[in-house]
């Protein structure tokens, strides 16, 4: 009599999943019952959530600690400006196309940076982003070092009125945030997630058990570049202006994102959420205090790294064993007798 096994993916997540769906619905209706300032902030949080989840997928799961994701935000932003400004593409259609442009460029970039490991990879990606910035700063057609503005007419193509437009921006951002969340969660629960985690833990060993490490990493990198580029397009559609400095800003598009992920808990899906809320709470509370705001933000980063190295979620889940987005697989032995009863229950005629 052979023992039977099944994989348990965690039940806590299912209840939470339902709650999350309700929350998503509530968020979607947000612009109908709060003022436009809050909507705008919520939209910003949504796209930062997307950036944070994407970076977390790269660094926390695939072990690709990139300090150069701003390259794709900037490339996406510039692609959008070219598509809308020069080629007359509708802005909302231009967003995914901006992602595609970023993804296309990420392929050759990957071939270069994938030769690097660890800290070299981190700095290498940073330099690549810098090169993108410098090259764009030398293209007069893209505005050179001074950048370019999107004319109001282009944006008005989305909607003429400010209120409607702000709502559409918000929904786009929310959709981006949720789509990225779903993508990352789905990817991690799939076999690719398994391979990524294995690669992060030991690359030679994962090769020795049949994982195509290069393709898996490449796929992840390109998918992340696509999403980051699309989010970049969306961001600069709202900012209306892009310049090499703003598009490829290390601080805005990577460091803040790293802050969120690491403070919240890298290598978890829940962590970036917590980091997101902490960052925005601090920003809202302190933004008017000039340098002090930044000093306090710095202190918070230092404090959390000293006292909660695995981030806040790491601390919570170690303490309470909580997992809202289960990506783990548990092997459960089903004794033959019990399996029979399960089968009976599943049989409609039984």
């Amino acid at each position: 009599m052979r023992a039977a096994f099944r994989i348990d993916r965690g039940a806590a997540g299912r209840v939470f999943g339902l709650a999350a769906l309700i929350a998503a619905a509530a968020l979607a209706s947000l612009p109908l019952w709060v003022d436009s300032g809050v909507t705008r902030l919520a939209g910003e949080m949504a796209y930062y959530l997307a950036l944070a989840q994407l970076w977390n997928l790269l660094a926390g799961y695939a072990g690709l600690v990139s300090v150069g994701q701003q390259a794709y935000v900037g490339l996406g932003g510039y692609a959008l400006f070219v598509l809308c400004g020069s080629l007359g593409v509708h802005p909302l259609l231009a967003i995914p196309l901006a992602g595609a442009a970023a993804a296309a460029l990420s392929l050759p970039i990957a071939l270069i940076v994938f030769r690097l490991r660890g800290a070299q990879f981190a700095v290498g990606t940073w330099v690549v982003a810098e090169i993108c910035q410098l090259v764009i700063a030398q293209l007069p057609s893209l505005g050179g070092g001074s950048g370019q503005s999107l004319t109001a007419a282009v944006v008005r193509a989305i909607a003429a009125g400010r209120t409607t437009r702000e709502m559409i921006f918000y929904w786009c951002s929310l959709a981006a945030g949720l789509a990225v969340l779903a993508l990352v969660y789905g990817l991690l629960r799939s076999r690719i997630g398994l391979a990524l985690t294995a690669i992060r833990d030991s690359e030679p060993a994962s090769r020795s058990v049949g994982v195509d490490t290069f393709r898996t990493k490449l796929l992840t990198y390109v998918v992340v570049a696509f999403c980051t580029g699309a989010v970049g397009g969306l961001i600069f559609l709202q900012k209306l202006r892009i310049s090499p400095d703003s598009g490829f800003g290390l601080q805005d598009w990577t460091v803040v994102v790293i802050f969120m992920v690491v403070i919240g808990g890298i290598g978890t899906i829940e962590g970036p959420f917590l980091g997101l809320f902490i960052y925005f709470a601090l920003r809202q509370l302190l933004a008017d205090y000039g340098s002090w705001y930044l000093i306090i933000l710095g202190c918070v980063a230092v404090f959390f790294m000293l006292y909660a190295r695995d981030g806040i979620w790491g601390w919570i889940s170690a303490r309470f064993g909580l997992q809202l987005f289960p990506v783990r697989r548990h092997l459960v032995r089903v004794t033959p007798a019990r399996r029979a009863s399960l089968d009976d229950a599943a049989d409609p005629k039984g």
């Binding site: 099944r6 294995a198 090769r207 058990v209 195509d212 092997l331």
Partner: protein, 242 residues
Amino acid sequence: MTGPLLELVEVSKRYGALTVADRLSLAVGDGEALGVIGPNGAGKSTMFNLITGDVRADAGAIRFAGGDVTALAPHLRCRRGIGRSYQIPHPFAKMTVFENLLVAAIYGARRGERESAARCGEVLDLTGLAAKANIPAGTLTLLERKRLELARALATEPRLLLLDEIGGGLTEHETRALVETIRAIRAAGTAIVWIEHIVHALLSVVDRLVVINFGRKLAEGEPQAVMAEPRVREVYMGIPTQ
């Protein structure tokens, strides 16, 4: 298919001035169990690395299951049926023991997830890791990690299993259990190449023994006969010839 399962033809590998594989030729038949011994630093692990593709040969050819794999990437060799354990274990430390095996089953053996669960469960039972299935591999002891190496290699459903010192540090009792396990694996039709310094364990399993020294074959043949050779006794066992 005719011919051996694995064939090394005049394979060479140098690290600077040091030759670690010196026109090494070797054949392993389908379902055969081959033992490999040799002094420390003889090039045994390197030979495994050459077979799996972790290290590229400078010269020579490696054929497996009728195809030339000399230029093939490691993961493709694994999918063709070469499974290995590392002498110094490389667990996926943050994944659970079961997940370690699952990766191997899904990617190495190209199985579906559900099917893999059953296979991994069996392998865990076979290797005595069942109780640790759902804990992170990083918390295993050294010997458990070695067992995990074996289990993970098995989960890829290899036709050829390369074992690098998985018996070191076992108690007699544990050694006996390991020998039984390996016999069982073999009985299921998997060919085995086993590097081991615990000679008596090795001898109780293998059909043939190869002794490697300075990247070259020093002796090869029926295990007891090989062990009786004075050269081997001197070089490997440290028993001087009178």
